[in-house]
Amino acid sequence: MGQKITGKEPIITPGWIIMPYKYSVGALASKFFVELRDNKRIMGVRCSECNRVIVPPRSVCNKCFSKLHECVELDSKGTLLTYTIVHYTPSCEWLKPPFAYGVIQLDGADTGFTHVLGEVDLENIKIGMRVEAVFKDKRQGNILDIQYFRPLASSL
């Protein structure tokens, strides 16, 4: 196919797709973000059918399809289930490599919570280490109101 114009520079149309979106998070996630913003509290939701506490909360249980609304306040401490140290610039601008992501099981929750790890020696992150949420001073009602999770002093 392409061989006939070999030698010439290929003709490329450079361009963008630029689109603004405005997502409604729904009533339950709104409650989660309002509690996070106003009270620095992390809320989960309980599925009484499955006897599980799910965080971040969703209004439908992915195991039994029950409608969920019973909010449960969770501790901001938890255990690191897994992590990675990222060495490239990700799609968002505020994270500068190297930095770490982790999945954290908050105390009292049955699911993991994915976020960024901070105030941590990247060499010494370990699965099973105890971590706690650090909240931003200026909170806006989104997931970044948690600045990151840092190791608990006792686990260092």
């Binding site: 149309t13 797709i17 689109m19 979106y21 405005k22 997502y23 209004s59 439908v60 249980c61 399809f65």
Partner: protein, 392 residues
Amino acid sequence: MAQKVAIVGVGQTRHTSRRPDVNDGELISEAVNAALADAQLAIKDIDTVVSGNMDFFEGHYLNDAMLVDYTGACGKAGFKMNTGGTVGTMTFISGCYCVASGLSDTCLVIGWEKHDEGPTTSCISTIADPSVDRPFTVGALLGMALICGEYMNRTGCKLEHAAMVRAQASENAFRNPNAHLRKRYSVEDVLKARIVLYPLNLLMVCPTSVGACAIVLASEAKAKKITKKPVWVKDHITVHGEYNGNHYHNQFNLPGFPRTTTQMVAGKKLLQRNHITKPLKEIQVFEMYDPCAFVQMSWLEDFGICGKGEGWKMVEKGVTAREGAFPVCPSGGVLCTNSIGDSGTVRVAEAVLQIRGDAGEHQVTRDVKTALVSGFGGAFWTDLLLLSRTPD
């Protein structure tokens, strides 16, 4: 050979311009729960979940995987269809294939769109080739405006007829609690609306809505256990076509090349192979995907429901009204409700309600045994389905 496919449950959300109280997943789960309730099934009874919508409208890649919590697909088989405006009917058809192939006994079909979250017209504009015609593409409306002009030139249809279609749609939507634009308009009101794309004004084009629609399909053996009122998918045909965004050849009579639309081909083949020779008699209702007021008239002709140049006359005589001899879009159609990913699915669901006699206030006066449903999208593509009260 193929398994027969029955529709055993339908459910839709109400349609509106904004739903800030729910996220997209929650919107879907409303429709899913409604369809499961209609079928008197639980999610555990479903083995396959197919969903469909357009990625850029909400900006999600792989949103079927992203929203499994709300579709109920976790642990189940399924996939996502993605074909533009036809996606609603195409997702339904893909559900039919799941059952007809024998690979699924029960299949949940989901069409949805949350147009309040993204720039719809901008998204649609990116259907065009980025190097050739994207700079001249204005959503789906431009193509509509072009073919409407062509129809008026060719048949003598006037703006007034389009206004009649819209006024009639508003009467129907007024009676349909799930429709989006439910305000009643007179022909004069419609003609006074602001021009959007000449010759189309704001009331002659479809809105952008928020909504979801779910349908439960079952194999013959299962269906008979699930419901006393199954509706059968008698036949369906998909006719897509060449990429014509930059030339619209097939929409015009060009020197040596007569106008050939996908509606003409789909209508001819489907009616022929189902031995339908008098469609106005043998089909009792038509839920057409009618994205603008002219096409209802133009496509009635193209589908072979009426003769050439007779579409606008049918509207003028009131034949297509809800209480008319051949009701078209008694739900109010896409002209009044358009959340693209579910526009096709809603057409099917509405036809099912008509066949079951469950359409309530917007039930047509004719007894509906057989319904025709169409989907539209892409580069003037067509899906056409025949639903029936009886399996044979």
